[in-house]
């Protein structure tokens, strides 16, 4: 009751809803709500939501890109590892091949050397034989010479001997 007492005692108009103020408040608020709400608040909210969606989408896209990047990197790593393995394999193969070639070459060289050695031996043998033949011949000639000289001294007048020698020489020549 004390409130009512104060109200009636002094002018306390804010608690009395005046018709004019009710009317104008309704008009101003209705305009603010219906017109500004439609022209300003709705587009603002839409813009804000669109923007937040854009940001969310961008974040998602970045996440996906990151994931892809990660996958890509692991793929790269795999390829690198494979390449490294391949390299090792190739090197190993090359080494093997080189070893093979070297041992092959060695074998062949050995063979060649053997062949050469045999050839050389044969030639030496041949040469030796030829030399021996030559020596024999030389010895024969020398012996003949000596013998001739001896014989000549004895047979210088003996035609029969001369003829015989002639005959012998012919035989030699015919050979």
């Amino acid at each position: 009751m004390s409130l009512l007492y104060i109200v009636s005692w002094v002018e306390f108009s804010p608690i009395k809803p005046e018709v004019g103020l009710l009317f104008w408040s309704t008009v101003v608020f209705a305009i603010f709500w219906l017109i500004i709400g439609k022209l300003a608040f709705k587009p603002i909210i839409r813009a804000l939501n669109d923007r937040s969606n854009t940001i969310q989408d961008s974040l998602d896209a970045a996440k996906i890109a990151k994931e892809e990047m990660k996958n890509l990197r692991s793929e790269n790593d795999r390829i690198m590892a494979e390449a490294r393995e391949e390299k090792m394999r190739i090197i190993k193969e090359a080494k093997d091949a080189a070893n093979l070639i070297v041992s092959d070459a060695k074998d062949r060289a050995k063979e060649e050397a053997q062949r050469i050695t045999i050839n050389a031996k044969n030639e030496i043998e041949n040469a030796k034989m030829a030399a021996l033949v030559d020596v024999k011949n030389q010895l024969g000639a020398m012996a003949t010479d000596i013998a001739e000289k001896i014989i000549r001294k004895n047979l210088s007048n003996d035609t029969s001997h001369q003829e015989y020698v002639k005959k012998l020489v012919d035989e030699v020549k015919m050979n």
């Binding site: 009512l4 309704t26 439609k38 608040f41 603002i44």
Partner: protein, 430 residues
Amino acid sequence: MGKTFAQEGYNSHSTPTETSKPLSSPDQDTENQSLINDHSHNDSHSEQAHETHSEHEFKADETAFHHISDLNVYNIGPWNFPLPCILYAKDQGWSIFSSSNFDIDDHHHGSGNKAVDRYALNKGRVMRIIDSSFPMGEVSVEGFKLEEKEVEGKKKETNFVIANGQKYELEKSSTIDGGLFGGGITTFFDFSITKNVFGMILVIGLISWLFLGMARSYKRNPGSAPLGSQKLFEPIILFIQDEVAKPFIGVKYERYMPLLLSIFFFILSLNLFGQIPFFGGANVTGNLAVTLVLAVIVFIVVNLNGNKHYWEHILWMPGIPAWVKTLITPIEILGIFIKPVTLTLRLFANIIAGHIVIIIFISLIFIFGKAGAEPGAAYGASVASVLLALFISSIELLVAFIQAYVFTLLTASYIGAAIEEHHHTEADHH
């Protein structure tokens, strides 16, 4: 009516000895002059000012109530700026004119030195002279007074205007409180652009312009980082959306966002506007009419959007015994109407309380200084009052935000309750 009161004399409020004095021109009668609350156009009495001052005791409550009231003038400091008056009385139709036609007196809370078409400006408020014998057009006014009058066995404070040496009863404009707070429908309606209406149009116009500009700039460069006013308002808008609308309303929140944002910014901007000192202190959100309009709009929106489940829960709450339902239903129906009432009163009381407290603290200077009689005490009190007023002002800034938030939050929760889909009712039917 005016004549009978005039014969009693217009100083009946004071001692019986004074009532016997003859009705002379108030300009020559100092005794009478002191009884006229708003004596005006009376500069010849300035020498006797200190005499009358001691009789004019400073009343902090009157000062406070005057400052928080709606007026037909806009007073900034000692100046009173006229506002348009749009008045309607059944027997004399519409009267539209500027309140400057009242010849506003700058020294006495904006009372008018003239009456226009049976309307007079008493302490910044337009009142109507009931007596139909009072002449139309501009009539010079000698003063106003407040005295008790017997109405239906009850004493009632009534305003009178003194003109042509006679006393005429004044009537306030119509209010819709039905006499509950001392108002009621009278013979005229005041649709004027009052201080509150002017402040409201000014502030809402300003923020409308701001928001329209913001909306344009969102349209112009979509998806870009916020610029200018967007930086300031964007977090608030997002706060209302994410912390108020989404949790309380749910998936359909976007439909109600314009309403929630309108309510929030309407209340917030007017709360803050009322806090500006020496700018008229338009107490818009601390006026029951304004908060009532907001609450009624919320009430209409909530109940128009209420779905089947909402009404079912109010009228015939499912899942409880029938005899309990008969108890619950009246309470629920009462609840529909209590909600807007609490919305109205909460905002009104919080804002008006802040205004009154600040004015009372400032008034301490005048109370201690005995209205200029003790300047030393006034200086001492001013230090304390300024500190106290500063403290309350800071709190009021917080209250401005909190009340706007609370009103919006409750609106969202009422809407949410009205449109919520209740799934548990299906389980009850099994």
